[in-house]
Amino acid sequence: MTDSQRSQLLHLGVIALLFVAFFVLPTYHVGNLSRIMVLAVYAIGYNFLFGYTGLLSLGHALFFAAGMYGLGLSMELFDLTTAPALMVGLASALIVSAVIGFLALRTSGVSFMIVTLMFAQAGYLTILYFGSYTRGDEGFVIQQADRVLFGLDLSNDTARYFAALVLFSVCFLAVARLVQSPFGRTLVAIRENEERARMLGYNTVAHKLKAVVISGTIAGVAGAAYALLFGYAGATFATVQYSIFPLLWVLLGGAGTTIGPLIGVIFMFYLIDLSSDITSAYMLIAGVVLVLLTLFAPQGLAGELRKRVFKWMP
């Protein structure tokens, strides 16, 4: 079996596992998984930029929120139905990430991180400033009756799970394929050594901009899906905290691995969920675990697995 066949098997296996999980896991965990899959899409988008292109953004919450509000506001204010509203969400994230990418890519390294952070902060404040439309921090509910896509009631647990699974699978497979393509490999080259890549004749700026837009759009799709599947849009999702989350998920799961984002989200979710059962000081446990992971699993969970066991892993 070649490495690429193995990777394909792994990817399909993950999807099959998630499919089966719906039938075997208790309701609670099925519910969690729907949410985890949507957040994993967010993490996949983030990983595309951070893990594969090597750009550390702290502004992804804005892309997530662009998708979320693009969908939410177009439904709330203009009574759009789900499918066109999803398109609006996707388009908003695409436009926002293109503009911010264009400006922020004038910088690099830590400056890139700070510029994206500041644009996101300005975006967050803008959501609050237009509170009469967005309801600011409080946000708004997307009514159950509106959350219907192609006749499917997405507020129903089963429909929600499979909608999340489809979205996850599409993004997961598409990104896994993309990073193996010449374009994706060039991004890796830029991550490894941008100057070398440029001096091989690659237009690294254009590549990075494309990466920001793809990454931001995927994040936005996750935001739109979150609003749609869980019925709520709010400014909390545009705060810095929600830019740090995907970074954390990706680093924990394994940056630059295809399954790292999913693993990172699952790990972080259950770390909080299980430790909060034991103690109200669950953040303390989470903190200690994070520190231990950096000490003993520096490549993230999937990254360590690749380093130690499955060298072929994508």
Partner: protein, 308 residues
Amino acid sequence: MDFGPHLLLASLEGAVTAAILALTAMGLSIVFGVMRVVNVAHGEFYMLGAVIAWWVTSLIGGHPAIGFVLALGIAPLLVGFLAAAADKVILQKINYDPDRTIVATIGLLYIIQQTTLMTFGPDARPVQPPFNTRIALPWFEFGDAGFAMYWPWGLSITSYKLFVIMAAIGILTALWLVITRSKIGLIMRATQLDSETALAFGVPVDRVYMWVFGLGAGLAAVGAVLVVPIQQAHYLMGHDPLLLAFITVIIGGLGSLPGTVIAAILIGMSDGIISVFFSPTLAKIIATLVVAMVLAFRPQGLLGRTAH
């Protein structure tokens, strides 16, 4: 209020913000400059400074000035030692790898925040300023009756806020002297320029890193002790100063200490002054975008050097 007095008041408030920001950002700038690591827990060291200040002052009775002066000595020391220990136990072990440092300091942030929540509690707690006289300020105008001085409604500052500005200037000057004139400063600068060569010349780079990390955290704590009689200690108070300090350091130019001070003044003052012209939230949005644009069009920061 008339435009002139309003602008004066906003500038004074901006100066207080700038003073605190300069101290906090300076701590981050030194760590950044010398060690090249992103310390996400910097804001938590700031918060700890404020919380320890509250703790010290609430233990000491008598005139508030006694507790305050003690806090100004104790809090930065304790925070500095804690940070140095964290450096030794965690950051040194992961070799200051950029990505891992981010995760580790996020972990540290959780630990410090939760521990504070469990011990100090969720309430905002005030510390009494050592002195706090309201000083009404006059304004001048040329009216029909010629040059006249009057006392506009609300135009005032407190003696403590003036003290904060002076104290920040004093501390930063002292720090500048230490870095440029003393042997410790020389060692720090040598390590910053080239840690490998410094190591070859017998500089104990690990120890330098440890104490630089401690010093950075200590400076944040100093800023917090100064601010806590104005703003109260709260377990979540480290968040915004962290972001602002980061922005300041980058705008100033990585590793440039004078740049950091200039950026702090610029950001603090513009935060105050822009608020005169726009509605508050809009002013914040504009100030944030302006600073982001400055960075986008001058990526090396104000005093940073270009690559070529």
